[in-house]
């Protein structure tokens, strides 16, 4: 073990929070309580928890469509009200984006959350500007974008890496390679199944990380963030992981693959075993942590359900800054 046990338990709690959040959300979605579309981060908790652990409220991260978890973690860690992420997903007035954004557009710059953008990969361009502002103001901050393997096909992916490299911008690329973009296997959609092969040409450190091992993920994010804060320019991390959610229409991946990742590579199972093996905590103790976290998340769901809907007329507010336009 490279991590001290307190940190590992904290990270376990964070990962559990993500999973409980997603499972609770999925349940409510199926009941019809959550409008729109739902992509969950189940299976990718270690990646998100490792990033959340190292990013400060004064840093910036752009979450992807499976990032309810890191959004909730940041919200809870820095402002103590993770329930406002849940409320946003329910389209409530108390949500972080006042119900205007939902799952794909939850933001709060006060906690470093610069918001998702449902056009995949598009904020790979935006992240450059945040990083440029840090650089021009000589602030030792990190601008991170969390992106799926699917975004590698976008022009912005290449424009972004190139520009970050020539300007030495403090950008952390956190690429979540979960093997597929909807149905497209990563090796079929891109010139290499290892995205670092493509990123390396842009001349920044490119590291492959086991995205399901919280210890390794935590350590690699630490290294990347230290490097960036030191003014050395951008850094590229490729987290190899796997998402539990298949297609909306169901599972399409081979049964053995599904079994392998869920049974043998579940980041929570792996971390749980490590905790029990390396500390005085028993299985019962860990069960208690899980139950605590789950109860907290259920409280968030209740909060979201009880929150008021937005005033309908608010739909025309904030189109322009300082101007109201006749409608």
């Amino acid at each position: 073990m490279t991590l001290d046990i307190e940190t590992l338990v904290d990270l376990y709690r964070d990962m559990w929070l993500i999973r409980a959040f997603e499972f609770g959300l999925e349940r409510e979605f199926k009941k019809g309580n959550v409008p729109g579309m739902l992509h969950t981060g189940v299976g990718q908790e270690a990646t998100q928890a490792a990033l959340a652990a190292h990013l400060h409220a004064t840093d910036a991260f752009f979450p992807d469509h499976r990032c309810h978890g890191i959004n909730a973690l940041a919200q809870e860690k820095h402002q103590g009200d993770g329930e406002r992420i849940m409320a946003e997903l329910f389209g409530r007035a108390t949500g972080v984006s006042g119900g205007k954004g939902g799952s794909l557009h939850s933001a709060n710059p006060e906690v470093g959350n610069f918001g998702d953008n449902a056009v995949e990969g598009s904020y790979m361009a935006t992240v450059l500007g945040v990083a440029l502002a840090y650089q021009m103001r000589r602030q030792p901050n990190v601008a991170c974008c969390i992106i799926g393997d699917g975004t590698v096909g976008r022009g912005e992916f290449h424009e972004s890496l190139n520009m970050a490299a020539i300007w030495k911008l403090p950008v952390l690329y956190a690429l979540v390679n979960n093997g597929y973009a909807i149905s497209m296997p990563v090796g079929k959609g891109h010139a290499s199944a290892d995205i670092v092969d493509l990123a390396r040409g842009y001349g920044m450190p490119c590291v492959v990380v086991d995205g399901n091992d919280i210890e390794l993920a935590y350590a690699e994010v630490q290294k990347a963030v230290d490097y960036i804060r030191g003014g050395n320019g951008p850094y590229f991390l490729e987290f190899k992981t796997w998402r539990w959610q298949g297609l909306f229409s169901g599972e399409f991946r081979p049964a053995e693959e599904v079994r392998y990742w869920k049974e043998e590579r579940d980041p929570l199972k792996l971390a749980r075993a490590k905790i029990i093996e390396n500390s005085a905590l028993t299985a019962d103790d860990v069960d208690r942590i899980e139950a605590e976290v789950k109860a907290e998340v259920e409280g968030w769901i209740d909060y979201a359900k009880q929150s008021p809907m937005p005033e309908p007329a608010k739909a025309t507010a904030n189109v322009y800054v300082g101007w109201t336009v006749e409608n």
Binding site: G99, V119, N318
Partner: protein
Amino acid sequence: MTQSPARTRTFVQALTEALDLALERDPNVYMLGEDIGEMGGDFGVTRGLWAKYGETRVRDTPLSEAAIIGTAVGSAMMGMRPVAEIMFADFLGECYDQLVNNAAKMHYMFDGQFKAPIVVRTACGGGFGGGPHHSQSVEGWFLNVPGLVIVAPATPADAKGLLLASIENDNPILFLEHKALYRIKGDVPEGYYTTPLRQARIAREGKDVTVVATMKMVHEALAAAAELEKEGINVEVIDLRTILPYDAETVLASVRKTGRAVVANEAPRTGGLASELSAVIGEACFRDLKAPVERVTGLDTPIPFSLVLEKYILPGKEQVVEGIRRVMK
């Protein structure tokens, strides 16, 4: 708007003055774009600014239009005031998503938590044999984008005042510079001043017919008005200046007065600014109108290269004269 003594300046010089003043005044203002640094931009608008302010604030970029706008937006979310240059408006397709889905929605979709005060300067318009990819009038591509502002000056004085107002403004602004206007000269007040956005200018007063025009078409409309004056037709010309959200009040007041309207815009006809204004005038002034509103626009074709072909499809003074004659019948 404090007006100091005016001097004669070209449209380009007026723009350069504005950028210089903005960079000098606010450390958050910076510029980025292709070849805008030492070279001074394709049309010379940023000439001298790289030497004066350095490469950090006058930044050359690769051919990465999406990254240019993305960088502008991200830095604007942090409180910077970027002025981006997209060399030709035709290339806005390369960063369309950044403008439409990011810049224009940044304030709205997170319920006011972010602002994206960017200015995107770009050279538009035809008439010089630029062909299909260096000549287009793109305002119609963006009219249907709430949250975006489109500013389009017609004179050197407005080029300066509107650019300074755009840089001061908290919204994302597409700032259109018609290439045919770059070399025109006019009186330009000295020093810092702003020209209000969302306020059309009455370029010429008249009582018989209103022509609402933008950019180069303002000058075509003024030439048409001078010609028709000889026949006793008294034309009012309105320079819209802000295309989105536009100043309906000034337009409608003028049409109520004259009872006739011609809308002159270089872009293709279908679904464009001329159609929009025609609809608004028709809805609001139906009972004041003595004739249906006329649209004077480009034809619904791409822009061909050969000057003869290009002239055939783009509107000019003659088309404005014909349009006015039709509503005067």
